[in-house]
């Protein structure tokens, strides 16, 4: 049985013990020999390699380490074994493989400090990024010919047109859920008819725009971060700079404009589709005819609800695009960063959108658009 690496210790009169290695001493046959070797108690005077059938650098490394530990001599090494032993002999190192682990009372404050520092840097970074955008906009106003119309139209298509099916489906379903759930509750007061008010006001004012912003953050904000981030990694952004193209003008401005404008349209579209979804439920479950439902919307929803939605939508779009482009431009170093920054772009965009939405809710109620 010489399938695995074997060893035995033989006594040899006065000159000390002989460690006889046998079988194949290869990476694939070493198994737990390393641990078992540690339990030998010395002293070993000689290490006999004559019975080894095969050897590779791992076998040679172990043999070499044994000779160092016990100060033993190697005998019976084949030509190949000698070559390998000679090669790995020079590979000793005093350096520790792993850097020493920092104790936790030092690690926690250090991490904390890094986080705070990064937070400051992040704040300055955002400010600098906004400044770059303003500069780019000013340049474009002065030199309108440098504006990239094609890129803008392409982004319109990617952010807006291609999002229509998924946002339509989502909004339709949301309309259905609101109408159906609302009707169940309102029925208890005999007020099913108010379902129309509920669906109309909540979708135009809040949910249509908010859900669309979340969807756009997931669809387009993440794509912005990943695209720009990958372009940073492949040095395309640097190449643009050397040719004299400002990456902010070429990459960021079209995306921000497209996202802002398309959010306006998508938000409105989502609200309309959600109302249609509500009307379908009204027709099927509540006995309110489809067209009567839509007529009632006109009567019960104040027109400022539409304005509230339409004012919020482009702001949300701007935030989503800014977060995506900013995080994309922050990618440095390796591919892991792209994933990290994409996640950060989506999370920060959605968070900011929801916080702002709360602010808008209070603000518009206070100014009398309740």
């Amino acid at each position: 049985m010489s399938e695995f690496a074997q060893f035995s210790v033989e006594e040899d009169g006065g000159s000390g013990a002989i460690l006889v290695l046998s079988g194949p001493w290869l990476l694939s046959t070493i198994r737990d020999v390393d641990q078992r070797l540690a339990s030998i108690d010395g002293p070993i005077a000689r290490i006999d390699l004559a019975a080894i059938s095969e050897i590779d650098t791992v076998g040679a490394w172990l043999a070499c380490r044994l000779t160092r530990q016990h100060g033993a001599q190697v005998t019976g090494a084949s030509a190949r074994a000698q070559r390998l032993l000679k090669a790995v002999e020079h590979c000793e190192s005093e350096h520790e493989f792993e850097p020493p682990v920092e104790p936790f009372w030092l690690r926690v404050p250090r991490r904390m400090g890094i986080l705070v520092g990064k937070g400051w840097q992040g704040a300055f970074g955002v400010l600098g990024f906004l400044g770059e955008i303003l500069v780019a906009i000013a340049t474009l106003v002065r030199h309108p010919s440098r504006f990239r119309v094609k890129a803008l139209i392409r982004q319109f298509e990617l952010v807006g047109v291609e999002a229509l099916p998924i946002i339509g489906l989502m909004s339709f379903l949301i309309g259905i859920v609101i109408a159906q759930q609302g009707a169940v509750q309102l029925e208890q007061f005999g007020a099913e008819a108010l379902t129309v008010n509920l669906v109309g006001r909540i979708t135009l004012r809040e949910l249509g725009v908010l859900m669309t912003a979340i969807m756009v953050a997931g669809r387009s904000g993440s794509a912005f971060a990943a695209q720009i981030g990958t372009m940073k990694l492949t040095e395309e952004v640097d190449a643009m700079r050397t040719i004299g193209i400002s990456p902010v003008e070429a990459l960021v401005i079209p995306r921000i404009l497209a996202c802002t404008f398309m959010m306006l349209l998508l938000g409105f579209y989502a609200s309309v589709v959600a109302i249609v979804g509500g009307a379908v439920v009204g027709d099927l479950l509540l006995g309110i005819p489809f067209w009567t439902f839509l007529e009632r919307i006109k009567e019960v929803v104040p027109v400022h609800d539409l304005w509230v939605g339409l004012i919020k939508a482009p702001v949300f779009g701007l935030i989503v695009a800014l977060a995506g482009c900013y995080h994309g431009m922050q990618v440095k170093g390796n591919s892991e960063q792209v994933g990290l920054r994409t996640t950060m772009a989506v999370v920060s965009a959605i968070f900011a959108v929801i916080v702002l939405d709360a602010f808008f809710a209070v603000f518009f109620t206070e100014v009398g658009w309740g």
């Binding site: 694939s28 390393d34 095969e54 390998l84 493989f97 170093g333």
Partner: protein
Amino acid sequence: MILHQQPPQGMHERFRGDHPIVVEGLVNRFGDFTVHEDLSLTVNRGEILGVVGGSGSGKSVLMRSIIGLQKPAAGEIEVFGQSSTDANPAEEIGMRSRWGVLFQGGALFSTLTVGENIEVPLKQFYPEIGGKLRREIARYKVMLSGLPDEAVNKYPSELSGGMRKRAGLARALALDPELLFLDEPTAGLDPIGAAKFDSLTRELKQTLGLTVFLITHDLDTLYEICDRVAVIADRRIIAVGTIPELIETDHPWIDEYFNGPRGRAARASMERARK
């Protein structure tokens, strides 16, 4: 998943045959574009075989076919006497543990340190080996590849291009392969670094008893370390042999390659070195 599967027993015996790689009648197509048509090549055990050819002639595709990353449209590829085109998964894993590949850009995992990069194949194939020994193996592999020992703890992005190539080589050597594939190892290195890499390749081949399949554009590498050179042109291997033998063939592309200004310079420098 192939996680932690053992190579089949008996796979640890070194290959004793004469030809670790035999390619017969290989055809590779991408859509309508034929890269290889009836390509045949035999690699001898223990040699450094240089593979040359114009850009886009399919050198890397040939390598990818041999290591099983590219499924050929037709043809037979035998590695270590086993057909790699119809190997079952267990056999394939066994074969994979017996060759190392250095990709053009090094292809080190950017989120791991150099040492961890080398430990990846070790963990994958031999999970039974203890962590301490595994780290030692990683460290001496790094040093065998001519890197300073502290490179073990560095991330690929902290290394220069030449060091990254060496780290990639260390990972390719992690499993003590018998067969080493190098894809343009000296591309992008300065002449001194390239020459050092060449001598490292030769040294490792001698000490570890490797067979090396080396794709290169570097004429100095061909003259310095290659035992034989295979030329890919017109979708097949048009000639294999030592450089003097190749020059005898009178093929126009080979003639231009070795007797062009760069070819002459490389030959002259080699002749000077021999004297």
